[in-house]
């Protein structure tokens, strides 16, 4: 069993702010079975909707991960996200992932992303490279394909998000300083804001 308690300056989920660009508090608990099965729960304070309301987001997830003798890891899992206030934003997701060395890639599919009743696929690649003891460079790129429509009732097509940053990792603490970018702020959930699509995020995590 492992977990983390985090404070983030802006809760950016796939680039979209779910905290109205305000700080958020988060907690995660994960159980790992020796055979590779895992399950966990995540909770975060959020500010979403119109007008913005203070709520909690909960994510439960479970899956199976295995490392091959060549050092590659693959995984399959299921994720369910819900909100205490805006319950219509709840959605399930399936994920497939692979990791080799310092790079991981995941594919997420949801038939009802943020309750829009539309199909969506989110692809992401994450990489980490250790620069010095206790310092890693981290990067993330993601792309969301969805047949939902944005707040202007236009087709969304593809939305990209990215992140580059530094992760300072210690025995029990992580500090991450990163820059997050988003190609389109009109997705309709979250309140990233056109003028604050791109910006810094600082997070502090206590690992247990």
């Amino acid at each position: 069993m492992s977990g983390s308690l985090s404070a983030v300056s802006n809760y950016r989920y796939r680039g979209v702010s779910l905290s109205h660009n305000d700080p958020a508090a988060q907690a995660t608990l994960v159980y790992d079975h020796p055979q590779g099965f895992y399950a966990g729960a995540f909770a975060s304070t959020v500010r979403i909707g119109y007008p913005a309301s203070n709520e909690l987001q909960g994510i439960v997830f479970a899956g199976y991960a295995r490392t091959t003798s060549e050092g590659a890891t693959w995984e399959a899992g299921i994720v369910y996200s819900g909100f205490t206030g805006t319950t219509s934003y709840a959605y399930p997701e399936l994920l497939l992932g692979a990791r080799y060395d310092k790079v991981s890639a995941r594919l997420h599919y949801s038939p009802n992303y943020y309750g829009r009743g539309s199909n969506s696929v989110y692809a992401e690649i994450d990489a980490a490279h250790r620069l010095f003891d206790h310092v890693q460079a981290v990067a993330h790129v993601g792309a969301l394909w969805t047949d939902a429509r944005n707040i202007y009732d236009e087709p969304i097509d593809v939305v990209y998000d990215g992140r580059v940053g530094l992760l300072f990792d210690f025995d029990r603490f992580n500090i991450q300083v990163s820059w997050v970018g988003l190609s389109d702020a009109s997705l309709g959930y979250g309140l990233t804001g056109v003028r604050s699509r791109n910006g810094p995020v600082v997070s502090v995590s206590w690992l247990f």
């Binding site: 985090s6 995660t28 020796p34 899956g63 991960a65 060549e70 994450d126 603490f173 991450q176």
Partner: protein, 420 residues
């Protein structure tokens, strides 16, 4: 809210900085005859929603392993000295010092039987395999392996060679620009130049055609200087290493995707190191290890199946599994911007590591077994003459590289020979 967050950040950062000032638990210079290695299963990295915050993948579960290690330490009267992730084996490795007087063997057996422990073993000591003898000013490989001719075909260009040894003097005139990565797995010092590691690095990849010193066997190879051994005053062996420091260096070499690992060290058979070597071999890494003869037996890691075991030519019995290469009175760089002569199996192994780098440049996909067959003396050579057949660089390059590096007469000849 922002002020609160800032306060949390400051407090956390302050706490982290404070933890950095604590001793790092290095094993350098400590006795480790009462230390055990405890391996705990590490969960494979997988999806976590908090990865976007700070708990990045596999690191997130490490605190849990630490908690288990602390519980075990308390239960078995141990003190945690150090810990290191070994993702190549899917474990986190913890070094623990015994506090009680219980038998080490019994303690290891009890730990190994604990369901929360993946495996456990005692910490072993290894030592480097060099010794100093009267010298004469020759570089044997230049003549025996015809390096001038061989370097016209290959210099080991961009082949990554990990030197797991003592520290390397990277600013030595014969090594400037030759070491691409330096890591110290013994203590916190940034750069350490020591005799054995510097000598081995020089033989493998010293600068060529620079008007100074020697020419390395593979002057184009990319060298990784991984310090896992350290000199010990008053010890005949000169320098020692531990299971833990060697394992950390091997894990790093795997992370760096090196193509060749040079291990000029010897010691007892070691389960953790065997497992890491198996991973390296399964990934196509060629492992070259120096041979120390002990009652007619080859020392570990040279004895490990799949490694290329190399001994110096003189004074040893020929063995089908052991390759022989120049290892006596070898001129090479030494710390203090000097050069000197060294002898020992360590340096024979370094010669073969350099030669394998040349072969890897010419045939990038060549595997250990093919290299072994190309380097092994031919049967006819072993019978005729009565001498101990040496690795023949020209013949090996002709066999694997498909090129006639020297004269074709040499390439088709039997191996080079030295008097018995």
């Amino acid at each position: 809210m922002r002020a609160t967050l800032l306060l949390v950040l400051c407090l956390a950062f302050g706490a982290c900085m404070a933890s950095e000032r604590r001793p790092d638990g290095s094993v350098a210079g400590e006795t480790f005859d009462r230390q055990v290695l405890v391996m705990l299963r590490a969960a494979p990295p997988h999806f976590r929603p908090d990865a976007y915050a700070g708990a990045y993948d596999a690191a997130a579960g490490r605190a849990a392993q630490r908690r288990i290690a602390e519980k075990l330490a308390s239960q078995y009267e141990l003190t945690i000295v150090n810990g290191w992730p070994m993702p190549a084996l899917g474990v986190d490795c913890f070094v623990m010092q015994t506090r009680g007087s219980a038998s080490l063997e019994q303690l290891v057996a009890r730990l190994a039987a604990d369901p929360s422990v993946e495996s456990a073993q005692s910490m072993n000591e290894f030592h480097v395999l060099g010794h100093n003898d009267p010298l004469y000013p020759l570089q044997p490989s230049a003549k025996l392996w015809r390096l001038d001719d061989v370097h016209k075909l290959a210099t080991g260009n961009r082949v990554r060679v990990a030197i797991v040894d003592t520290g390397v003097e990277t600013d030595h005139p014969d090594l400037i620009g030759r070491v691409s990565v330096t890591r110290n797995f013994v203590d916190g010092r940034a750069s350490v130049g020591e005799a054995h590691g510097t000598a081995v690095a020089g033989i493998i990849g010293a600068r060529a055609d620079d008007g100074a010193g020697i020419a390395g066997v593979a002057p184009g190879a990319s060298l990784l200087a991984l310090r896992a051994c350290w000199p010990l005053e008053g010890r005949a062996a000169g320098a020692v290493c531990s299971t833990f420091t060697l394992a950390k260096a091997l894990q790093f070499a795997l992370d760096e995707r090196v193509e060749i690992i040079n291990l000029s060290v010897g010691g007892p058979r070691d389960r953790l190191l065997e497992r890491l070597l198996d991973v390296a071999l399964s990934r196509g890494v060629i492992v070259v290890a120096a041979v120390e003869w002990s009652a007619g037996q080859v020392s570990f890691p040279a004895s490990h199946r799949g490694t290329l075991a190399v001994a110096e030519v003189e004074g040893q019995d020929a063995s089908a599994a052991v390759l022989f290469a120049p290892g006596r009175d070898i001129p090479t760089p030494l710390p203090g911007r000097q050069w000197g002569f060294v002898s020992g199996s360590s340096y024979a192994a370094a010669h073969v590591s350099g030669l394998v780098a040349l072969l890897r440049e010419l045939a990038p996909n060549v595997q250990t077994q093919q290299v072994r067959e190309a380097l092994a003396p031919r049967a006819a050579a072993s019978v005729a003459g009565g001498g101990r057949p040496m690795v023949d660089a020209c013949a090996a390059i002709a066999a694997l590289g498909g090129a006639c590096a020297c004269s074709c007469a040499v390439a088709s000849d039997t191996g080079s020979r030295v008097p018995p």
